[in-house]
């Protein structure tokens, strides 16, 4: 059996801002150091790697791993400390690490045929890596940053190690998830401005569903999304005269795959009778479409963890659009795994009365499968 190649890198400064009350370290490293922040990412990385080493030693049949990494604190030190020997340093960074180091290192990993990129950092690191991997090679994060809204992180170092083993043995299939990031400057000023910045492949833990009284079946996140999409496709097919406005995110994008159209990841696209009639629409173009189509449905997926259905990542959908569509015509979709880390749904259209109307009686139905909805709490 040939060894799997894992590209490994640590963003050594990830997580430093949080300890000193900053909301990220991307642009404020100097300030963080000034405030006395100390690097912690290597500790989280070490925990993961030691666990992974232990798990791999006991794996039957044996699983071989070839590591591709960066010099010193950006990777090689931690791998060595954890006892790994098949380590090749393919990138040597400068003393202070930057976004460019991350991107350059990932570029090297890809050249050397990495099967997976394991990194230790936060949303910012994930964003930088995605810019290079472009959905071709799966990535997985050891949570070590301040902000970890993206779907690429394990819940803790130990679980992350188990996911790596799952990926190596083939039991966890890669699926497409959203990568989010905050605008850190605005966030430090007290404004919560999340952006959906990309989607990435990641080995995803299975969703457990009970198929019988004591039989739990595990399905992949991709299967669940496909099931949601299949249901939406039926609705689209049954309503050929209805305008469907499809919002951003990877769950909604799956509907586009089913229709065989190229749905944009970050934009709002319009579909009528299964055909794409507009992509990446702005407010004006959406309003123009609404003028022509009295029947309309708005399909949205909340942002993971914070649960914003409107007001984050889809500002094109203005209060006027929402009002003209009407609450009854908003279809919210989300996988059960996403809802599990998203306890409440929120609306922030900028108009409090509209938000209150959307939140309804404290619950809204969310499509979680084929002909299957769940009532989820809303919060203003």
């Amino acid at each position: 059996m040939t060894a799997k190649r894992i590209g490994f890198l640590i963003n050594p400064i990830a997580g430093m801002g949080g300890r000193v009350g900053l909301k990220g370290t991307d642009d404020a490293l100097a300030r963080a150091l000034e405030l006395g922040a100390r690097p912690t990412a290597h500790l989280r990385a070490g925990e993961t790697l030691i666990r992974l080493h232990g798990l791999l030693e006991r794996q039957v049949p044996a699983v071989a791993v070839q590591w591709l990494t960066c010099s010193g604190p950006m990777g090689a030190d931690a791998l060595q400390a954890a006892g790994f020997t098949a380590v090749e340093v393919v990138y040597r960074g400068a003393k202070t690490t930057t976004e460019n180091d991350t991107k350059a290192a990932v570029g090297r990993f890809l050249e050397r045929g990495a099967d997976l990129i394991l990194f230790c950092g936060g949303d910012g690191t994930a964003r930088d890596i995605c810019a290079i991997t472009a959905q071709e090679v799966p990535i997985l994060g050891v949570p070590a940053g301040v902000k970890m809204y993206s779907g690429v992180f394990g819940v803790n170092p130990a679980r992350t190690a188990e996911i790596v083993v799952g990926f190596l043995t083939g039991s966890l299939a890669p699926t497409s998830v959203d990568v989010l990031d905050l605008d850190e400057e605005k966030y430090r000023q007290g404004e919560w401005a999340v952006r959906l910045c990309a989607s990435a492949l990641t080995p995803y833990e299975a969703t457990f569903t009970q198929s019988a009284k004591a039989l739990i079946a595990a399905s992949t996140e991709a299967d669940v999304k496909a099931e949601i999409a299949a249901y939406l496709l039926e609705i689209i097919r049954d309503n050929p005269a209805t305008l469907f406005l499809l919002g951003p995110g990877s769950t909604v994008r799956t509907i586009g795959d089913g229709l065989d159209i190229d749905k944009t990841l970050l934009g709002i696209d319009a579909v009528i009778d299964g055909r794409l009639t507009g992509t990446d629409l702005n407010e004006g173009r959406i309003l123009a479409l609404l003028d022509r189509h009295p029947r309309r449905k708005l399909v949205l997926s909340p942002i993971g963890a914070q649960g914003f259905v409107l007001g984050r990542g889809n500002l094109q959908i203005t209060p006027e659009i929402v009002r003209r569509c009407g609450r009854a015509n908003i279809i919210v979709v989300a996988t059960p795994a996403k809802l599990a880390r998203t306890p409440v749904l929120r609306f922030d259209t900028g108009e409090p009365e509209l938000d209150a109307e959307l939140a309804g009686a404290g619950y809204i139905p969310v499509v979680i499968g084929h002909r299957r909805r769940r009532l989820v709490k809303t919060q203003l």
């Binding site: 039957v60 049949p61 569903t209 009970q210 198929s211 019988a212 009284k213 004591a214 039989l215 739990i216 079946a217 595990a218 399905s219 299967d223 099931e227 299949a230 249901y231 039926e234 499968g369 084929h370 002909r371 299957r372």
Partner: protein
């Protein structure tokens, strides 16, 4: 109470550990007014007494051990080798549940794997599930599966008029939740042309029974070709005993074969529990309802078995195979496994031969009676172990005489299905019927219709 082991002292200690003083305090969440009703049930009795009471009740029935029986119509009196019940009474097997924990369930899992293997070879199919409730529900699931495979583009199901009437009604009940129609082929049993005429681009599946409800073989190859030409699937309902000797629908082009496995070592038991058999082509395995057992290896590389493709079971898309089946018929499937292993290649063939020759001898003998017709619905079609006799009198009346004067349980009165068939009787003959019994039946029929 023999089934509750607690002594007074233990009960007290356990309540104390929980922090309660009395058993009734365990139920404070239940609305007070509804707690502890007086149930109108007979007073308890001992095992000894229940045996006496139940035996007396059982002995009030006529049974197939004490009466020659020519009744079939879906449930048959076949020989059950002693090996079968010997295995069924192993407590490790019959007091276990669905093998969710494979390391503790290798016995049941391997038996199910062997069941799947033998059923596939017997039916000529590629995949079998690990059992269904009975033949009719297996057929209903096969029909839902065919609709699922058609992905909503075909919504018509053609049921052969010679399908067991109860199978038809079960399929109709199951289709209440589906967006589908059942096409009626009129009452032309054995008429392949009538079925061919109903096939069109809306047809998801054509359902045939072979041997059919009247015991006769259908033109499976011809109808499979016609169904495929129309883009539809062919579902065949088979008699597993006939497969010991006669061609398997799977080898004749059927896309799914279903059956009731009761003839394979399961007593008639007044109609249940029986065994549903559901098989398909490998290409459709992910749409197949019910449990599947697969071979794999353990952490030390040893061979073992597990329930597999579990996610299939909860794919509940309208256009995918849909099933909620959970508890199925594992123990009767085990009976069939032991039966098939015991009978084996030559034994099952022999059973089928005995059924074939004895039923033909019976038909020939009865045909010589005055005013009697054999298989009037299709006199030239070959049959396996069951045939229709048209009598000069209503079958119900004849049956009463057979029983009252000769102690014979006669054939199935087709008048129970349609009033214009009241003079027809469906007679089943198996390896259990001796030549003497058959001769006695013929004599009794002569007397009863005179």
């Amino acid at each position: 109470m023999a089934y509750i082991p607690h002594t007074d002292a233990e009960r007290a200690a356990m309540l104390q550990a929980i922090g309660l003083r009395s058993m009734t305090e365990l139920f404070t969440d239940i609305p007070e007014g509804l707690r502890f009703p007086d149930l109108d049930l007979p007073p308890p009795i001992s095992e000894m007494e229940v045996m006496r009471e139940m035996r007396s009740r059982a002995e009030g029935n006529l049974d197939l051990d004490h009466h020659p029986c020519f009744l079939g119509a879906g449930t048959y009196n076949h020989y059950i080798p002693a090996t079968v019940d010997d295995v069924l009474r192993r407590g490790e097997l019959y007091t276990s549940y669905t093998p969710y924990q494979p390391e503790l369930s290798q016995g049941m899992l391997q038996a199910m794997f062997e069941f799947q293997s033998m059923i596939c070879r017997l039916t000529g199919m590629e995949v079998s599930n690990a059992s269904h409730y009975d033949g009719a529900t297996a057929l209903a699931e096969a029909v839902l599966m065919a609709l699922g495979l058609a992905r909503g583009k075909r919504r018509k199901i053609i049921l052969s008029p010679a399908l067991h009437p109860q199978y038809r009604t079960v399929v109709e009940t199951y289709l209440r939740g589906a967006d589908a129609t059942v096409a009626d082929a009129g009452d032309t049993p054995g008429g392949a042309a009538a079925l061919e005429a109903l096939l069109d681009d809306q047809t998801a599946a054509l359902v045939l029974q072979t041997p059919n409800f009247y015991g006769q073989f259908e033109a499976v190859e011809r109808l499979a070709a016609a169904a495929h030409a129309a883009g539809a699937l062919l579902i065949a309902v088979a008699d597993p005993i006939s497969l010991g000797l006669f061609q398997a629908p799977g080898d004749q082009g059927a896309d799914m074969v279903v059956a009731d496995g009761q003839p394979l070592g399961i007593p008639p038991s007044f109609g249940g529990p029986h065994l549903g058999i559901l098989t398909s082509r490998k290409a459709h395995v992910r749409g197949l309802a019910g449990r599947l057992v697969g071979a794999t290896s353990d952490a030390a590389g040893e061979r073992g078995y597990v329930l597999t493709l579990g996610t299939r079971e909860q794919h509940i898309r309208r256009e995918r195979a849909t099933s909620n089946i959970c508890t199925n018929a594992a123990l009767t499937a085990l009976a069939a496994t032991v039966y098939l292993a015991t009978m084996g290649r030559r034994g099952l063939r022999r059973v089928a031969e005995l059924c074939y020759h004895k039923s033909h001898y019976a038909a020939d003998t009865i045909a010589r009676l005055p005013g009697v017709k054999i298989n009037p619905q299709a006199p030239d079609h070959p049959f396996f172990k069951e045939f229709v006799v048209e009598l000069a009198k209503p079958a119900a009346e004849v049956n009463r005489i057979l029983l009252a004067e000769f102690g014979i349980i006669g054939g199935y009165d087709l008048g129970r299905e349609a009033s214009d068939l009241e003079q027809r009787m469906l007679i089943a003959v198996t390896e259990m019927n001796t030549c003497a019994e058959i001769d006695q039946l013929a004599a009794a029929l002569r007397h009863a219709t005179a």
